[in-house]
Amino acid sequence: MTARRILLVEDDRFLRRAGEISLRQRGFVVTTAADGEEALRKVRAEPPDLVLLDLLMPKMTGIEVLKTLRAEEATREIRVLILSNSSREEDVEEIKTLGVSGYFVKADLSLQALGDMVARLLEA
C-alpha cells in the first residue's frame, strides 16, 4: 500500500510541528506549508491525497486557497479537511458550499482523534 500523502497547511509553528510528528508516527507522508501561496505551490507540484487546511493565515486565507483549488481542474477533487480555530458561522457556511470533508476546531481536537479521522478518510 502506498503511503498516503498529506499536506498540512498551518501558519502556527507549534501546531505544525506537533501535527506533522503525530501524523508521521501514524505512518502518513506529511508535507507542510506555512501559508496559502506555499500550499498552492506544493499542491500543484505534487498533489496530496488529503489537505489539512487552516483558515486564518497571512497572505492568503484558507478560503481563498480552497476556492482556488476548487476552481482548477487538476485540484478540484482533492480532499480537504478544515482545521480552524475560528467558528464563525459565515465562514462555515461558505466553506460548506465549496465542498470539504470536514470542519474542526483544533483546540477541541486531540492528536489522537485527528489521526483517527484522517486514517478513516484515507481508507475510504
Binding site: G19, L56, V105
Partner: protein, 1001 residues
C-alpha cells in the same frame, strides 16, 4: 130706458094718436109730427129709431122724407103706413129701404109685430156695433200694451222708452196729449223728457216747467199715495192748483206716478183738452199696469246704468292700480291717488294724510285742497282726518256749515272755498291704519254708499302701493347697508392686517351712518388706557396722542359700561367727563358722539365712535349699524391676535423640529412625504426640501444601488405605506453614504385618533454598529488567538504524553498540564458561545433530535470519570423518548454541562440518576445527584453569570461559574426552560424541558 123713440109722421091726427096710444101701451116712447118739415126737424134732432111714415104728407112726399132720412148719420128704420096702397108706392117704399109697409087702417097686431121686429133688429145692430167697438178697443189696448211691453223689454234708453210708452198710453186712454217726466235726482223734481201731440205753441213752456216733488202746488194725495190721480175738471180741482195746469187750460187730466223701489222716479201726465173724460175702472187698471211696465224699464235701466258705472269704475280702478304699480316712489303714488280720487268721485279736491307716530302729516293734496288741508301736521284723533285714522272707519260730513262735530277753526278754510261735503276713508295695511284719504265736494250731492266703497277701494290700492314702495325703499336701503357691510367682511377675510381692516370700518361708518367722522380706540396697557388707533376726518394733531381712561367721555363710558353710549350734543351734555389730558377734544369739531364697545367674548378690546359735527339725535337704527360694524372690528382684531399666536407656535415647533438630533419624516396617507426635518435630509443624503412632497416609495427606490440587500432592507419600509398601523423598526445600511441608520416607524394619529400616515424616526447608529461589529470581530479574533496557542499546548502535551521514554512522574505532570489546558480551552469556548448567544449572533439550526441517544453518548464519554469516582449512574426513559426540536450541538453542550456538574458535585460513591419523561406537550430531562445540594437562597441565582453557590466555596471544585449561565442561554434560545430543585444537603436535581416534535407530519 130705451134711448130711441118712434116718430109717427102722419097728417091724420087721429091715426097718429091711435098709433101713438097703441105703441105707448106697448112701452115705446113715441113722438108725433104732422108735416114733413116738422118730422125732419125732429129726425135731425136724433134719437129716432123708427119712423112710421105716411107717404102722403101735406108738404112733401113721403119719399122725400125717406131720402132725407137716409142722409142722416144714424138713420132710423122706416115703416111706411099709407092709406093708399099702390104698387108704385110699395116699390118706392122698398126702394127707399123701408122695413115694412102697412096699409091703413092699421092692424095693430101687425104693426106691433113689425115694430117689435124693427126694434129687435135695431137693438141687435146696436149691440153688434157696441161689441165691435169694444173688441176694437180691446184689440187696441192689447196692441198698445204689447207695444209697451216690447219697448220695455227691448230698450234701455229710458227717454226713448218713455217717449214710446207715452204715445201708447195717450192713445190707450184716448187722451189728446201726453207727457212723460223723469226724476232729476239733483234737483228733486220731475223734468219733462217726452211728449206726444204736444201743441207746438205750448212746447216751449211745457219744457220749461218741471213737476215738483216737494208737494208744492200738489195736494198730498198725489205723490204720497203713489196712485194715479184723475180729474175731469182741472180748472176747478183744488189738487191741480200748480201753475202749469193753470197755464194750459185743459178739462181733464190724469197724473200717473212712476214708482221705482217705492220712490217716485217719474210720471205721465195725460191731457184731455176739452173733453170731460170719464176714466173707467178698466182704464185705470190698464194705466196702472202700464205704470208697472215702465217701472220695469226704469229698473233695468237703472241696473244697467249701475253696472255700466261699476264697470267703468273698475276700469278706472284697474288703470289706477296699474299706474300705482308702475310708480317709482311714494311721492308719485300719493299724487296719483289724490288726482284719481277727484276724477273717480267727481269731486273738486282730495288729499292724503299719513301717520308718523302719533301725528298725521300731509302726504299729498290736489291744488284745490290747499286751503282745506292747510295744517301740515295734526294729531291722531284731531279733526276729520284724525277721527278716520283713530277709528279706522270712514267718516262723512254732509254739510260743513251745519256740522257741529268738528272745530270750526279747522273747517273755516274749507267753507270759505265753498266746500260743502267731506268724505274720508282709512288707508290700512295688515290691520293697521297708516293714514287716510279725503275728498271734498262743493256740490250738494250726497255721498252714496257706493261712493264710500269706491273711495275705500281706491284707498286700498293706495295703501298697497304706499306699503310696497316703502318696503322697496327700505329693502334698497338694507341692500346698500348689506353691501357695505359685506365689503367690510370681504376685506376682513382677505387681510389680517388689523389696521387696514379698521380703516375700512371707519370709512364704512362714515358712509353708512352719514356721520362726519369716525374713530377707533384700542385698549393699550402700554399707553395706559384707550389709545386712539385709526380714524377718518379727525384732526390728527388732536388724535395722535389721545388716550382716554375708562369712564372718560363717551368712548370711555362705552368701554367701561360695555354698551353703546351717545350724546346728542356734547356742549349741552353735562354728564360727560374728560380729564385735562383730553381737554383738546372738547374744543374740537365733533358735537354729537355715538360710541359702541368692540367686544370679543368677554373682553372689551376697544371702542368704535361715530361723530357728527352738528348736534344729532342718534336713532336706534344708527346704534344697530354701528354695533354691527363694531362686531366686524372685533372679529378682525381677534383674528389678528390668533394669527399672531399661531405664527409664534408654528415657528417654535419648526425650530424644535429642525433642532432634534434624530431625523424625522412624516409620510401622509397618500404615500407622500408631508414633512421632514433637516437632520432627516442630512442622514439620507438628500435635501430636506426635495424630501417634502416626494412619493415615499420612489424615494426608497433611489437607494436601489445599495445592492442585493436593498430588497430586504427596504421591503418593510415600503410596506408601511400600505399599512401604517403596523409600525416597526430596522436598520438601513447605506454603503454609499457610509452609514447605518436605525429607523423606527409609528402610525401618525390625528386629533380624532385616526391614522393618517406614519412617522419615521432615524437614528444614526453607524458608530454603534461599527463598535458592535468590532466587538464581534474582536471576539472572533481573540478566540482564535487564544485557541491557537492552547491547541499548540494541548498537542505538544499529547505528544509528550505518548512518548514511552517519559518517566512516570513527568508523565503525570504532562497529564495534569493537559487537564489544565483543557479547562482553559473550555473556558474560551464557553466565552465564545456566551458572547455569541448574548449578541444573538448564534443561528440555531433546530432539527428533530433524539435526546435519549444524545444523553447516552454523553454518558458514554464521561463513563471513565464516573468509574474513577465510583459513582453509580442510571438512565431511564431514553429508549422511547420522543424527539425534540433543537440544535443538536447546543443541546449536547447543555447535557454535557449538566452531567459534568452532577459528576463534579456528587461525592465518591454517590448516585446520579438521569430521567427522560413526557410532561404535557414537552419532554422533560432531569438529572439528580446525591451531592451537597443547593441552598434555597442560591437557587434563583444559579443560572446567572459567574455565579457559584455560596456553599461551594468551602469545597474544592473547579468551576468557571459560566456553565449554568450558558445552559440557560442555550435553553432560552431553544425555546425551553431549565431550573433546579434542591434541598441543601440532600442533593440537587437539574431539569429542562423542550417542546416535543410530533412524529407524524
Amino acid at each position: 130706458m130705451d134711448p130711441e123713440r118712434i116718430l109717427i109722421l102722419d097728417d091724420d091726427h087721429e091715426v097718429a094718436a091711435f098709433l101713438a096710444q097703441f105703441l105707448v101701451g106697448r112701452g115705446y116712447q113715441v113722438v108725433a109730427a104732422y108735416t114733413g118739415a116738422d118730422g125732419l126737424a125732429i129726425l135731425r134732432d136724433g134719437q129716432i129709431g123708427l119712423l112710421l111714415l105716411d107717404l102722403k104728407l101735406p108738404d112733401m112726399d113721403g119719399t122725400r122724407v125717406m131720402e132725407e132720412v137716409h142722409k142722416l148719420a144714424s138713420p132710423p128704420d122706416i115703416v111706411c103706413v099709407t092709406g093708399e096702397g099702390s104698387l108704385d108706392s110699395a116699390i118706392k117704399a122698398v126702394e127707399g129701404g123701408t122695413a115694412g109697409y102697412i096699409l091703413k087702417p092699421v092692424d095693430p097686431s101687425r104693426l106691433d109685430a113689425i115694430v117689435r121686429r124693427v126694434w129687435e133688429r135695431r137693438r141687435l145692430l146696436r149691440e153688434n156695433a157696441r161689441l165691435q167697438a169694444e173688441m176694437e178697443g180691446r184689440l187696441r189696448e192689447t196692441e198698445a200694451v204689447l207695444a209697451i211691453a216690447h219697448t220695455a223689454s227691448t230698450t234701455l234708453d229710458v227717454q226713448e222708452a218713455l217717449r214710446r210708452i207715452c204715445r201708447e198710453l195717450t192713445r190707450l186712454v184716448g187722451a189728446d196729449t201726453g207727457a212723460a217726466y223723469l226724476l232729476d235726482p239733483a234737483g228733486g223734481r220731475l223734468v219733462p223728457c217726452a211728449g206726444y201731440r204736444v201743441p207746438k205753441d205750448m212746447l216751449a213752456t211745457f219744457l220749461a216747467f218741471p213737476l215738483p216733488l216737494g208737494e208744492q202746488g200738489f195736494e198730498t194725495e198725489v205723490w204720497s199715495a203713489r196712485r194715479p190721480v184723475f180729474t175731469d175738471s182741472v180748472p176747478s180741482d183744488p189738487r191741480f192748483s200748480y201753475q202749469l195746469f193753470k197755464l194750459f187750460r185743459h178739462q181733464s187730466g190724469l197724473v200717473l206716478p212712476l214708482l221705482l223701489d217705492e220712490e217716485v222716479a217719474g210720471a205721465f201726465y195725460m191731457v184731455w183738452w176739452t173733453k170731460r173724460k170719464a176714466l173707467t175702472e178698466r182704464e185705470l187698471a190698464l194705466v196702472e199696469h202700464v205704470a208697472s211696465q215702465v217701472t220695469v224699464v226704469l229698473r233695468h235701466a237703472r241696473l244697467f246704468d249701475q253696472a255700466q258705472r261699476e264697470r267703468r269704475q273698475l276700469d278706472v280702478l284697474y288703470e289706477i292700480s296699474r299706474r300705482l304699480a308702475a310708480a317709482e316712489d311714494t311721492g308719485q303714488v300719493l299724487s296719483l291717488v289724490v288726482e284719481e280720487a277727484t276724477g273717480l268721485l267727481n269731486v273738486e279736491a282730495a288729499g292724503i294724510r299719513l301717520r308718523e307716530g302719533e301725528d298725521l302729516v300731509v302726504g299729498a293734496r290736489t291744488r284745490a285742497a290747499g286751503r282745506v288741508m292747510a295744517r301740515p301736521r295734526i294729531r291722531v284723533g284731531e279733526s276729520l282726518s284724525g277721527e278716520v285714522v283713530a277709528t279706522g272707519r270712514p267718516v262723512m260730513v254732509e254739510d260743513l256749515q251745519k256740522d257741529t262735530r268738528y272745530d270750526p277753526a279747522h273747517k273755516a278754510g274749507a267753507i270759505e272755498e265753498g266746500f260743502q261735503r267731506l268724505l274720508g276713508v282709512p288707508l290700512q295695511i295688515g290691520g293697521r291704519t297708516i293714514g287716510c284719504l279725503l275728498v271734498f265736494s262743493k256740490t250738494r250731492r250726497r255721498f252714496s254708499p257706493e261712493d264710500v266703497s269706491l273711495l275705500t277701494a281706491l284707498g286700498d290700492h293706495a295703501s298697497v302701493a304706499i306699503h310696497k314702495n316703502r318696503l322697496y325703499a327700505e329693502s334698497q336701503a338694507r341692500e346698500q347697508e348689506a353691501t357695505k357691510l359685506y365689503e367690510v367682511t370681504a376685506h376682513l377675510a382677505a387681510t389680517l392686517d388689523v389696521d387696514s381692516v379698521l380703516d375700512q370700518i371707519v370709512e364704512k361708518t362714515v358712509s353708512l351712518l352719514g356721520c362726519d367722522a369716525s374713530g377707533v380706540y384700542v385698549l393699550d396697557d402700554a399707553r395706559g388706557g384707550l389709545g386712539f388707533r385709526r380714524g377718518l376726518h379727525l384732526d390728527p394733531a388732536l388724535t395722535r396722542d389721545l388716550v382716554l381712561q375708562p369712564g372718560e367721555g363717551v368712548a370711555g363710558r362705552a368701554f367701561k359700561e360695555r354698551r353703546p353710549v351717545s350724546t346728542a350734543d356734547r356742549l349741552a351734555d353735562s354728564s360727560l367727563r374728560y380729564t385735562p389730558a383730553a381737554a383738546g377734544l372738547m374744543q374740537a369739531a365733533p358735537r354729537a358722539f355715538l360710541a359702541v364697545p368692540i367686544v370679543v367674548r368677554d373682553d372689551v378690546l376697544g371702542v368704535l365712535v361715530a361723530y357728527f359735527f352738528e348736534p344729532h339725535e342718534f336713532s336706534e337704527k344708527e346704534v344697530q349699524l354701528l354695533s354691527s360694524l363694531a362686531a366686524h372690528a372685533a372679529i378682525a382684531m381677534d383674528n389678528a391676535r390668533h394669527y399672531a399666536e399661531v405664527k409664534l407656535q408654528q415657528s417654535r415647533l419648526a425650530q424644535i423640529f429642525d433642532s432634534t438630533s434624530d431625523g424625522m419624516v412624516l409620510v401622509g396617507p397618500d404615500g407622500r412625504v408631508e414633512t421632514a426635518n433637516r437632520r432627516a435630509g442630512d442622514m439620507l443624503g438628500l435635501d430636506a426640501a426635495d424630501l417634502v412632497g416626494a412619493e415615499f416609495t420612489e424615494l426608497l427606490a433611489g437607494y436601489r444601488s445599495e445592492g442585493v440587500d436593498y430588497q430586504r432592507m427596504f421591503a418593510t419600509l415600503r410596506s408601511l405605506v400600505d399599512d401604517p398601523e403596523h409600525g416597526g423598526a430596522g436598520d438601513l445600511e447605506l454603503r454609499a453614504l457610509r452609514r447605518i441608520l436605525h429607523w423606527v416607524s409609528q402610525p401618525t394619529k390625528d386629533s380624532a385618533g385616526s391614522t393618517c400616515g406614519f412617522t419615521l424616526t432615524f437614528h444614526d447608529v453607524t458608530e454603534e454598529r461599527e463598535v458592535s461589529r468590532m466587538k464581534s470581530d474582536f471576539v472572533s479574533f481573540v478566540t482564535h488567538q487564544l485557541r491557537t496557542p492552547l491547541a499548540g499546548i494541548k498537542w505538544m502535551l499529547e505528544l509528550a504524553g505518548e512518548d514511552p521514554d517519559v518517566p512516570v512522574d513527568a508523565a503525570s505532570y504532562v497529564h495534569d498540564a493537559q487537564e489544565a489546558a483543557q479547562r482553559l480551552i473550555q473556558l474560551v469556548n464557553d466565552l465564545l458561545d456566551i458572547s455569541r448567544l448574548e449578541r444573538g449572533k448564534l443561528t440555531v439550526a433546530a432539527t428533530p433530535t433524539d435526546l435519549g441517544e444524545l444523553t447516552r453518548d454523553v454518558l458514554a464519554e464521561t463513563a471513565v470519570l464516573v468509574r474513577e469516582k465510583g459513582q453509580r449512574v442510571s438512565l431511564a426513559g431514553d429508549a422511547d423518548a420522543p424527539r425534540v426540536l433543537a440544535d443538536p450541538q447546543l443541546l449536547r453542550q447543555v447535557v454535557v454541562n449538566l452531567v459534568s456538574n452532577a459528576i463534579k458535585y456528587t461525592p465518591e460513591a454517590g448516585t446520579i440518576e438521569v430521567r427522560l419523561e413526557a410532561a404535557g406537550p414537552a419532554l422533560r430531562w432531569s438529572i439528580r445527584d446525591s451531592g451537597i445540594g443547593v441552598p434555597a437562597l442560591s437557587q434563583p441565582k444559579l443560572f446567572e453569570k459567574f455565579y457559584r453557590a455560596d456553599n461551594v466555596v468551602t469545597l474544592e471544585t473547579e468551576g468557571t461559574g459560566l456553565g449554568l449561565y450558558l445552559v440557560r442561554l442555550i435553553m432560552e434560545h431553544l425555546g425551553g426552560r431549565v431550573w433546579c430543585e434542591s434541598e441543601e444537603g440532600a442533593g440537587a436535581t437539574f431539569l429542562f424541558t423542550l417542546p416535543r416534535v410530533e412524529t407524524t407530519g
